[in-house]
Amino acid sequence: MSDTLHIQHGVASHGHSGEPHVHHHKETFISKYIFSMDHKMIAKQFLVTGIIWAIIGGLFSVLFRLQLGFPDQSFPILETFFGRWAEGGKIKPEFYYALTTMHGTVLIFFVLTAGLSGTFANLLIPLQVGARDMASPFMNMLSYWMFFAASIVMLSSLFTQTGPAAGGWTVYPPLSALGLASQGSKSGMDLWIIAMTLFVASQLLGGLNYISTILNMRTKGMSMTRLPLTIWALLFTAILGVLSFPVLLSGLVLLMFDRHLGTSFYLSDIFVAGQALPNEGGSAILYQHLFWFLGHPEVYIIIMPTMGLASEILAINSRKPIFGYMAMIASLMAICVLAFLVWAHHMFVTGMNPFLGSVFVLLTLLIAIPSAIKVFNWITTIWRGNIRFTPGMLFAIGFVSIFISGGLTGIFLGNSTIDIHLHDTMFVIAHFHIVMGVSAFFGMFAGIYHWFPKMFGRYMNNTLGYIHFWVTIVCAYLIFWPMHYQGFAGMPRRYLDKSSWVSFGQFHSLDAMITVVTIIVFAVQLMFVFNYFYSMYKGRRVRTQNPWEATTLEWTTPIHPGHGNWDGEIPEVHRWAYDYGKDGRDFIPQTEPVGENESSH
């Protein structure tokens, strides 16, 4: 605590003509590991919390896949663990909907938003721009603890009598607005809203910090066009979050009014058990507009950080400069702008005016252009490179592969006419799981394997890393590829049991196969978790400051950087972040002044 207080003083009286004075403050366990204001520790806190949530959210998918794969079978062990939620070893409908809802909520918000940008924005922004810490370390700490509070509330909703929210992760009214509507619309829904409010507060506190650190606290010489692409990606992610999460909050405020005060913002002409409710004139579509104004940028909040991580890892491990640096920034910017203009493509079949729909089709398909630019640049970056197949690099390449597969099906769904057939089918499930679920996870794994040495001064185990990669990529395609066929055949998503449809009988064995593969891939993720924690304490030690021979600033810090990151002065930057294979040299760090006879880019 006292250490950070000292840094705070630095803000107030930035005098001391650069005299390096060393203070060794005693750090207690609480100030170092719990209420830490060090951005590196906060990053680890986000990561570990994210890992715990990923196990919970992943387990939920295994459970509901059991129901989908083997609808006739009973699993007595489920009753042992879940009691009346799985009487006789069969998952009850309410439990099934709660599982799918919480799987979506947990993985989208708690793992791939907080766990992903929370980890890498906190770890990389100060280290790569050359800052001692975030603009406001205190607000940064608050951001984590808000997230932690949100986690506790969301977790507690799992243990309520009526169960957690169960109306889908989008919590559409009227299901979410009426406690009478279902089991999951009772206290679980209130806890969901409270948790998400805390979560939004956490994202905003974090986001403001990320933006102001990147724009205001770069070290000398670090112009915007010398920043690594990770930082650009995290900047646009933070901008998206700061501008779109508040709109979700406004939607949730009106939802709370409808739930508890009897207003009719979203409710109209509803009968429950033969009784007419007094609500009139409300519009459920209004909620959908407010929700998707966040909901769509949200998918870019998930994927953009991994685009940055992959760009960096691909360039380093190909020993080549990133191809089209400026085009990469421009395409991130284009995605960031378009992200706000396409939300209604989630609502093509809500009775939207077809002319309005066609505008959203055009804007949606436009996103294919910046996405394609990025994919092209990643492939040309590794083209004829001296590739080092580290686990991080494999996951980065896997990310590109999966992003292409998932992106292509987006072109189908972005067309409002084809969407009439495909909406609410397994095709949609396949599309978004591949393009933002699996590929974001691949980017995240790449980042964890690559920056683990910076986080803990040790390497993760390579062999386990390779097994993790190959099993995961094969299983990911095995799970989601067949779902496209199910979707084409019209198989609806969200349904508990489809066995009464003769036409879907052909998919029984396919569904069983998907479930078995889900269990295998879940087990392999647990192996990754083991690798992570084992390597934290027992992994091979990092002996050199710059193990990947990278150019960026984080590798100029000591192997175990203290709070403040650099022992002496913050290094000055003289060049961009991608001088690999230049003038016969393998790499040139950003801190090295440009030589007299050096060729220009």
Partner: protein
């Protein structure tokens, strides 16, 4: 370790805390933009009802405008080291802010008693409760912050002449003031 996180080069730039506040303001604006667009969307649908704004909201408008003025003067006094003046003006700003919140609550009650309530179809009045209520929450946050820096200025042993915290406070205060003006105009024109 050189612990100054603000380097010489950054002196000329916007202070990070001020910049962070600008981003926060953009974020809060998005929330109110979301709510007022929801208002516009909903106002085109069946069952829409309008309401008459009670006169007391004009009083609260004058109060918050006046508080912005005293906040401005307080910062000016702080910068010219007129600490007694500064403390006085800060205290007045705090009282005006608190009075604004009380006026809002009284106004909500009057509106409620004129039969603009939650049951049945929702219209401009119900949006007004939600939107002006959220604005009042933001003002209460500011009033608490004002109280904190007021107490610090009278009780603090160390004298700080760093203007940044006071300026950040002022920026936020002017923001909630302007936000209220926007909401007032919005509800007068469309409510």
């Amino acid at each position: 370790m050189n612990t100054s996180i603000v380097s010489e080069q950054q002196h000329r730039k916007l202070h990070p805390h001020k910049f962070a506040l600008w981003v926060a303001i953009a974020s809060i604006l998005m929330m109110f933009a979301g709510l007022t667009s929801a208002f516009i969307v909903k106002s085109n649908q069946a069952g829409w009802r309008t309401f008459v704004l009670p006169g007391i909201f004009w009083v609260s408008t004058v109060l918050i405008l006046a508080s912005s003025l005293t906040m401005l003067m307080a910062i000016k006094a702080f910068k010219s080291r007129g600490m007694r003046q500064y403390r006085g003006l800060l205290g007045i700003t705090f009282l005006l802010g608190a009075a604004f919140v009380i006026c809002q609550v009284v106004g909500f009650n009057q509106l409620w008693n004129s039969n603009v309530q939650f049951k049945g179809a929702s219209g401009a009045g119900q949006f007004f409760y939600a939107i002006a209520g959220l604005h009042a929450v933001h003002v209460i946050g500011g009033v608490i912050a004002l109280l904190v820096i007021f107490l610090k200025s009278i009780a603090g042993k160390t004298k700080s002449y760093d203007a940044v915290p006071v300026e950040v406070m002022g920026m936020y205060w002017h923001f909630v003031d302007l936000l209220w003006l926007y909401l007032m105009i919005f509800f007068i024109m469309l409510g």
